[in-house]
């Protein structure tokens, strides 16, 4: 099936089976491997991407359903040289250990800023983070990172 996907501001024409999940096209067809597959059962949130600004689990959406929508993956946020403030906050707060869940966690943070603005409380972040699993950190530093990352986005061009 021919489809065109708008990913990180760029149009991609792909020819994939109709049954292809968004995360499969991102990773396998387009080599955008920053989006991870943790559970593949809509639980863990490692595959979070933004679709028209909203965080969704890319393992539970057909690529075909994302046609005509603006998709943002972790590759579209920052670069290794110039991290997005939300990514920088994860680095500074040590909001990761193995890093596998991190792309989804960063995207979850972006979703919280979209919904609630840049002044987040740890309680709100903890509640909003229930769709993201981490098996290393115990979440404490992830919550700190998202609170700090959101604050750093205040007034920034990234917000």
């Amino acid at each position: 099936m021919q489809m065109t996907l708008a990913i990180n501001g760029q149009q991609h024409d792909v020819d994939v089976p109709a049954a292809s999940l968004l995360v499969e096209v991102l990773r396998d067809t387009l080599a955008l491997t920053g989006t991870h597959i943790g559970c593949d059962t809509s639980q863990c949130g490692a595959c979070n991407v933004l679709v028209d600004g909203r965080a969704v689990k890319a393992c539970t959406m057909l690529a075909a359903q994302a046609q005509g929508m603006a998709i943002t993956t972790i590759e579209g946020l920052g670069t290794p040289e110039a991290l997005h403030p939300m990514q920088q906050a994860f680095r500074e707060a040590h909001g990761l250990q193995c890093g596998f869940c991190t792309p989804g966690m960063v995207m979850a943070g972006m979703e919280m800023v979209r919904k609630h603005g840049t002044r987040l409380t740890p309680e709100l972040v903890t509640h909003e983070l229930e769709g993201n699993l981490c098996r290393c950190t115990g979440y404490i530093n992830i919550v700190k990172a998202i609170v700090a990352g959101a604050a750093a986005m205040e007034g920034a061009a990234h917000a």
Binding site: L62, A64, Q65, A108, N132
Partner: protein, 258 residues
Amino acid sequence: MRDFALHRPANVADAAAAFMGEGGEAAYVAGGHTLIPAMKSRLRMPDALVDLGRVGLSGITSADGRLWIGAMTTHADVAAGATAIPGLASLAGMIGDAQVRNRGTIGGSLANNDPAADYPAVALALDAVIETDRGSHAADDFFQGMFATALADGELITRVGFAIPQQSAYAKFRHPASRYAIVGVYVARHAAGWRVAVTGAGPGVFRWAEAEAALAAGADTAALAMPADDLNSDIHASADYRAHLCGVMLKQAIASLN
């Protein structure tokens, strides 16, 4: 996931035509947050999917004492927008997690009628009218047991009208991983009387007549005991445990009526 033919119609009539035109098994996909996992595990293997993402049908309006919600409205949008019925908005905000709520839809949830889903409880307690491309159904007749509804093959929900109650609230004891209700109780006070709906506990959503009568009589609901005989029993909770939870959730819902 096994491959399938995919239709992406732009309106309800074309969606129904695409569904009915399929020779094999066809399925509508709304938010896909039940269907896609079921297809991945091959519990469902439709030959064709009709994606409803382009047909419209989302939005919230108020008319004739009812709050009307388009079938494709996401849980997130109901949580944020159903301010006329705080209990309904609160219920929508308890479904799944933030990402699930961004994709899952009210129409999809009602059509699926999972015995542990949240929306069937509020639809029953708020005497909902479920409109389709072919007519309408009263909630009292719509839910027909586990994953069964009054919908005919290919019949498509277009919008749902909830009677705006004087007061209502939902209390849910959720499974910590799936976030479905182990037991959820929705209590609503209407001008015409009380309605209490229970989800998660039995093989399908049901009204708790004894609780409704007790509330109508102003009697003490703490004395109510849900019989465990017909309730679900599984690795998560025994029937007796669920029966007890019905009373606890009823108490919590009554305490948070608004």
